[in-house]
């Protein structure tokens, strides 16, 4: 799912708000979530102190005490888009669901890694894939599409949207194409 604010990046933060008994769910990318105002949660997103996370402040059903009074029934959840593992699940099981989890939870697990290993960076051996080996081919086939390929897909989607007179979609696609092709800002 794309972030509902920037519509560019994968949404990894789920924000549930309950106002007058009506619950609404929003999905943002980490970058947008950090720029938005979530009252007391903004500070958390800023720094991600490990103790707060472990206390369940960002987790489903967590937060008894002061925090809950300040922002009643408001919940955050960070989810890996590839495997669906949520951050609170990870905290509960100490186990990732896929290789992408490391990227998604990167900011959250740094302290934890330091605590477990006394280090944050790998210094050992690396895979030595010979070009042309079966592994290299398989890796290439599974790799994410390049920016050029993404642009091509977006352009054809834009054409289709214009043909179908879906102008709202077209405008969004045009913005996406513009930001993706507009230099290396992304």
């Amino acid at each position: 799912m794309l972030c509902e604010r920037c519509r560019q990046r994968e949404a990894t933060v789920r924000f549930t708000e309950v106002v007058n008994g009506v619950s609404s769910e929003h999905h943002f990318c980490l970058a947008c979530a950090r720029e938005m105002d979530f009252g007391p949660y903004s500070a958390i997103l800023e720094n991600f102190p490990m103790e707060w996370l472990l206390s369940g402040l960002l987790g489903i059903g967590g937060g008894e005490g002061a925090e809950q009074e300040e922002a009643p029934q408001t919940r955050f959840e960070i989810t890996c888009p590839t495997c669906g593992t949520t951050y609170s699940q990870f905290v509960k099981d100490s186990r990732f669901g896929c290789a992408d989890c490391y990227g998604v939870f990167d900011l959250l697990i740094g302290e934890n890694m330091k605590h477990i290993h006394g280090a944050e960076r790998h210094t050992g051996k690396k895979p030595r894939m010979r070009a042309g080996s079966a592994a290299a081919k398989a890796a290439r086939a599974g790799a994410k599409e390049t920016r050029e390929e993404t642009l091509q897909i977006l352009r054809s989607k834009l054409k289709e949207a214009l043909r179908e007179e879906q102008y709202e979609d077209a405008a969004r696609l045009r913005d996406e194409i513009r930001s993706l092709s507009g230099g290396d800002a992304q």
Binding site: G97, C98, Y102, R121, H122, G124, P127, M129, A138
Partner: protein, 336 residues
């Protein structure tokens, strides 16, 4: 023949050296996130890709879900799967070399778990062999690897090198000494774990201990191997010092203990696991210290593996305790 069945006159405190690598393959969720069907499909895919590396003459391939619970626990006794996985019926695959030295577990906690065990102090050669195997597998399957976190694993405690280096030590004197606890916590400070191979804490059976690295990220493989070897070496030196002091103190008590232990193993008709482990440990130390001389070489560690509840052969009309006694008294050679 398995490496621990080969008869030897091993007297060293270091019984065995083991290295284990955890690896995952790009583009697949980790096994616990897969449905049973997906897990089977992935296992077949991995087996297909790896089978040229593990030919039938030299390796056996097993599918764990068709094994009984007891058979799976026996695999755990051979240290080929861990105890959590032994309790599961999830489909896993296992390549194991005929000598039980090398094994590759497919779809356990991670996609791949490679292991190599050698007798005695041999961490470095064990690692070099395993690293070559790792490279060969890396040519066929693209590993999930990240520049920052290294090899990506299901548990954050394995990430980075994915390497666990272990030395198995026989510490009958040191584990009884008051310095043992202090030494163990000192090791912890260097990121080294000391754990009994059988049993827990004070109930440790057979005085066998595993010394292994706790940290896998931020250290090179050579550093990990070096630290474990150095720390295990220190423990072995302490053990040998204590044993030498006991020998020099003289008296008939230790000699008497050794003969009593041998006598029980040789003549008992019923042996509990704890009894067998205690006396085998005592005889192993007595042979190393020169109190007992066996007419033929025997692999005492191998015997300790075989008297475990789930490793025992089953025979109609015989209880496990009776089977254990038969097994031990037939395997134990005469005294000089």
């Amino acid at each position: 023949m398995k490496w621990y069945e080969k008869a030897n006159h091993q007297r060293e405190t270091v019984v065995a050296s083991r290295v284990r690598l955890v690896r995952n393959v790009k583009g697949h969720l980790f096994p616990n996130r897969l449905s049973e069907k997906e897990r089977r499909t992935l296992r077949e895919e991995l087996q297909g890709a790896l089978s040229p590396l593990f030919p039938e003459d030299g390796y056996t391939y097993l599918q764990t879900e068709i094994l009984s619970e007891r058979e799976r626990r026996a695999l755990r006794e051979r240290r080929l799967i861990n105890s959590t996985l032994a309790g599961h019926e999830d489909p896993m695959g296992l390549f194991v070399s005929d000598d039980d030295e090398k094994s590759i577990l497919l779809c356990g906690d991670d996609h791949l778990r490679l292991q190599n065990t050698l007798p005695g102090t041999a961490l470095l050669p064990a690692w070099e062999e395993l690293s070559r195997l790792d490279d060969a597998i890396g040519e066929v399957l693209p590993y999930a690897f990240d520049e920052k976190y290294g090899y990506l694993t299901a548990f954050p405690t394995n990430v980075g090198t994915g390497l666990r280096a272990t030395e198995v030590l026989h510490l009958p004197a040191l584990s009884q000494d008051k310095s043992f606890r202090r030494l163990t916590s000192e090791m912890n400070r260097f990121g080294i774990m000391v754990r009994p191979v059988y049993g827990e804490g004070a109930d440790a059976m057979g005085a066998l201990y595993e010394i292994s690295n706790q940290k896998t990220l931020g250290l090179s493989e050579a550093e990990i191997i070096g630290t474990v070897q150095r720390m295990a070496g220190q423990m072995a030196t302490q053990e040998n010092k204590l044993r030498k002091a006991l020998r020099e103190k003289g008296g008939a008590s230790r000699e008497d203990q050794a003969y009593k232990a041998y006598g029980v193993l040789r003549y008992a008709r019923i042996l509990t696991c704890k009894e067998a482990m205690t006396y085998l440990s005592c005889v192993r130390a007595a042979v190393a210290d020169g109190y007992l001389t066996l007419r033929e070489p025997v692999n005492m560690y191998g015997l300790m593996l075989k008297v475990q509840e789930d490793a025992l052969p089953q025979m109609g009309g015989k209880t496990p305790e009776e089977m254990r006694a038969i097994l031990v008294r037939t395997a134990l050679p005469d005294l000089e």
